[in-house]
Symmetry: D2
Subunit: 385 residues, 4 copies
């Protein structure tokens, strides 16, 4: 562990969404706390006032910083001397735009869950809002926070795989394999077009897989061809998608995302094949990265090894063999954001090695979802994003 916790005073953080019964809000809070870079001081934690209040109290927020709606929170916090410097937005997708806009226009940094918005039109509006603002916008594509994903990116960039030919990425779960129980809030909004958007699995996890492929390889997409399905009777949105991909320069690939793959937990997996070597990484075993040269022996790199590059080593807290996982990856994004926010405090430039998914990634993610729907509705026609 080369660095010390909580450098130069924690960042004052607010949260929109993430009240009682939510899952991802709690994940964001753990991620924010883990390295001591943030302190949660305000929240509009639910769209239901009673729940917002109860949730805020449970989290130990001061009474006057528990808000019933995010606009009031943005207005007041922006005026407070010790108001929040950043806000985490962890609502259903359709609320990302209206919430983020309020904070961005007041110069409050936004850390936003994915997919960025529920429609591409909204994504572009949010992009415009972010461009007008001096504040930072960070999209939590968690998996780009894993050290070995960054190691893979660095090695691909350095040419270790040669010219990339193939990218096979998949994200398989089974938690929506049956119609969800009525009280399952997380399932409810994700299968509801009004809140999720035009995509189901494609939006919820397909965007993660897409971002991972793009982040790791740097390949530029040309066209995709998609076949979307809704296996569960009565479901309005896709719960499985098969996508073929063509990249500029001739690389090809496939993306499979599914929330009905019985027995799969959270199996995000990517394989990249170049002219010189191939590479594999699995989110469920994130501390390792396998690289195999053409015709050679497989090498299993561990997080924390001395031979890893700076990009991975910066994201590592304990030596190899002490597994880091999902929270640590998430915390890595929060840490990158913290570094950027601290630079912003003093007007300094954000250090060049800081990496987090941006507003452009968010726009592209939603464009990917809409392209999948468009291609699938035209029987798999190849379409641009």
């Amino acid at each position: 562990m080369s660095r010390f916790d909580g450098r130069s005073g924690p960042i004052r953080l607010g949260m929109v969404g993430g009240g009682q019964g939510a899952m991802i809000g709690s994940v964001h809070r753990i991620a924010a706390r883990l390295d001591g870079d943030y302190t949660l001081v305000a929240g509009a934690l639910s769209s239901t006032p009673e729940r917002a209040q109860a949730s805020g109290r449970e989290l130990g927020l001061a009474e006057d910083r528990i808000y019933d709606d995010f606009t009031a929170m943005a207005i007041r916090e922006a005026r407070l001397k010790d108001g929040i410097e950043a806000v985490a937005i962890v609502t259903p997708n359709h609320m990302h735009l209206p919430a983020a806009r309020e904070f961005l226009k007041r110069g409050i940094h936004v850390i936003c869950d994915k997919p960025m918005t529920s429609t591409l039109a909204d994504a572009k509006k949010l992009q415009a809002a972010a461009e007008k603002s001096d504040a930072l916008f960070v999209l939590t594509h968690t998996y780009s926070g894993y050290p070995m994903v960054r190691e893979a990116q660095a090695r691909i960039k350095a040419g270790e795989l040669g010219e990339i030919r193939l990218v096979q990425v998949e994200y398989a779960q089974d938690w929506l394999a049956e119609a969800p129980a009525p009280d399952n809030k997380q399932a409810a909004w994700r299968t509801d077009p009004a809140r999720s958007g035009v995509g189901g699995a494609t939006a919820d996890i397909g965007t993660h897989a897409w971002h991972l492929a793009r982040f790791m390889t740097g390949l530029v997409p040309e066209k995709i061809s998609a076949d979307l399905q809704s296996f569960v009777p009565g479901r309005a949105l896709d719960d499985n998608a098969h996508v073929m991909m063509r990249f500029e320069g001739g690389a090809r690939g496939t993306l499979w995302c599914s929330q009905v793959a019985a027995g799969q937990e959270n199996s995000l997996r990517i394989r990249v094949y170049g002219t010189k070597a191939g590479l594999e990484w699995e989110q469920e075993h994130p501390n390792h990265l396998a690289i195999t040269p053409l015709g050679g022996a497989r090498t299993i790199l561990s997080r924390g090894l001395a031979q890893n590059g700076a990009a991975a080593s910066r994201m590592t807290r304990v030596p190899p063999g002490h597994p880091e996982g999902y929270f640590e990856a998430f915390a890595n994004l929060y840490r990158e954001a913290a570094t950027a926010i601290r630079a912003h405090r003093t007007g300094a430039e954000v250090p060049g090695d800081v990496i987090f998914p941006s507003i452009a990634d968010g726009v592209e993610g939603v464009a990917f979802v809409e392209a999948c729907v468009r291609s699938s509705s035209r029987d798999g026609k190849w379409v641009s994003l």
Copy 2:
């Protein structure tokens, strides 16, 4: 090991192809020998007479049963009192039809390597020849000989997975990732349209993956959409293919085959997901089969366990933990063929539990290859087989 070797006298076997420098001929011979069911007594082992002679002598064949061409062999062996009862055809694809025809029409059983022929037209001619003959035709889709593949088939048939929704099958290798050396005979014919047919990777290994998916699930194909590539400069045939599949009844899937996936050895892998459970099997770790119920714990079945069904147990020689592999799977097909041939000797019916890939599977395999090429040439249009 519940059965005894070499039941009631070995079957007299001939071989076409498989001389010095070939690989698959040797595999067939080991498979034929392993259980003591066959004895190799004749061969037309090469199209080059000198090589045919030298190869035959090295194998210890009697001088008068080393042939320079398969037609002469078929004619003479059919007349001999102790002539061959079966022939293994292990030539490049384009010679399967002419060779098989000569033996089938003389009542000699044919054990033929895959893909069955180099064109669909040829496949249909061979089918006609087989239908006219009283002799058996066995296609060596090796992987259907693995006990745990049969266990999977039995469990799917019994409904353990519920209704099948998804089939993800892939077959990845890297041995053709670069232009092969000029003296690599195996690579040479496989990348030559005149000998391989219209398909490259699709024909050589895509047909294996297709057969495995069909064999294991019993799903009936509706349409496929394919994107084929030839990554190696100058290559006339595909060396990578992405295929999306639709089956009758609504199941979907993908098939990926590649001979340019750097670092992959012989990675045939299938995953099947139903409404109740999912299943995984990998050829490189063939003694295990993983089944996971929806939301439950993964179960790893081993070959040889008492709880396995009869179909797998019949194909098992040693207790769990004593790994059986590629040769044993291949030998299982030879053993099934032997049982059928012995039944044929006495006019008895072939026992109902004997399973081997048939002429119909062969026709379908070649139809699959041609459908891939057809779909890909029309930019991924969905086509029937």
Copy 3:
């Protein structure tokens, strides 16, 4: 995630040791922060005053709560209205006793790193001190915080394995395979008898392996026979140990710990075999637990599955497939301690399901180390603890 963060106000925490250049102090701080149960407000972070001051400032402690020595800290904090309620002791082993004693006698709870002390005599003194105090004593045998370790414990207790016959536990690392660099502080004290105690690898990691075996199985030790080695020239303490174990009732086992096993990272692994089933767990893949019934198929349980028992589910933050790791296990112990401390605040009883390693475990751990040394010095004579 069924529970909410930071229940009813964080616990005020101090720290002894863990300043700049230390590793385990940082781990304790992350663990304490992760669930929002603690706030670090005071520290005597180094025995070197300059380092103590610099470290405290870096951690954002108030100037008047950065102490140069732990006694001063204990005295003053005990008098403060908002003084610390608990202290984490993360110094080298030989300082655990003097430090812990100062806090215990003032009613401040102690969370102490392992092994508990450097000698058995010290351990007994600490035990006496703890027994005299009303404060809690928590020993951070991290690995007992892993959910699947608790699942294993629960299943063994419920009889799923039948009567236990065998326990094979091992803890292999390689970080001390060579003489450490002079500036490696962590290596320096661990290989120094004055600070580590009579045991090297046995004390540092052997005690973890021993505790894990005892915690998971509940077996009561009878005798051990040990063969200790110091492979690195000039090393005063053992860096490898082979131990055979006999338990009451006839169960047997082996324990291997090594810090010179080249290529091993942090490979703590346990296997338990009973009359009905066997079980395996590996720290490097902590989210899974394998159980195999006699002659049956292996079942891989994942952390977070609905079928897991309450003991594991309580320790779980995210659904299966989202890996939790070392920090989360560590945080689980901090969380258990927090629950106990909060109960203590109000005079309530500590809930029955709260589990953390105790002073008795600490005494036994040091007794184990001394027994290893004693047996080894008598050429492997079987000795009691």
Copy 4:
């Protein structure tokens, strides 16, 4: 596949033991057949005449070469012009000496199952008989036939691991975890001192583990300390053993063998740690060998890779990814024996790269068993072999 099958005429083989109901006899026959090097022409397949006859007929032996006892077979076959050149002895342990002696003294090569004899006294008698004979003696320690075991041996010999410090070898099964069914012949003799000898698990599988450790590392044993158990009530021989090992030069190790480890199938596993790197190999996944340099990334070598050495490549039939298993390893020993026997035919020297376990290995194996028993009966005293 670099070599051709059945070089220069098969070797005429006889068999003692291995009739109906036996397992290992069938394994030997498959191994002998696999590469076409042998032809089975005679047998004394059972000590029960009816079973001997029935078994011989089932295997298709000529009537006059089915013998009721091995002495008659040795006498007659030695006189036949086309009598057997070699005999496979696959009886229970106590019959190895009397059977082998009859053939050795008549110049017939012996391929003998392990352990070599049931007592050390017998082993020495057999050694004397072998030394007096011109015939070869081959002991089938199967696991030394695996290519990746030979790769490991070659790399250790070449110094890739540095100086060896530690050897951890284990062989765990569960098939004797309960009292066997009365009709289980294989279990019956292995748990009977009259037929197995003084050792149970130690003799049956402990000798395999011991041989593997010795074969792979070349370390010379100094002393061992053993703790043997018989967990199953009423069992006369050990079914589990823990052994600590000291080698010349200071290397240490442990050996664990068990036939009562519930859930273990045939888990022979070895790990070797040197000053520079560590290595792991598992029989249940025999096509891979893991080597990890101190502090570095793990490398997984596959059987069949171009980078493997000659010793492994000679033992390889198909490219990587086509799994070879137990029968192929066994066949490798038969193939080595065939090469030696063919050299013997012509009076040529056995090629230097031919490797098979010898009479000296057999003596040492039985000495190991007796040393275990001796040490255990003296409460783990360190004893020489």
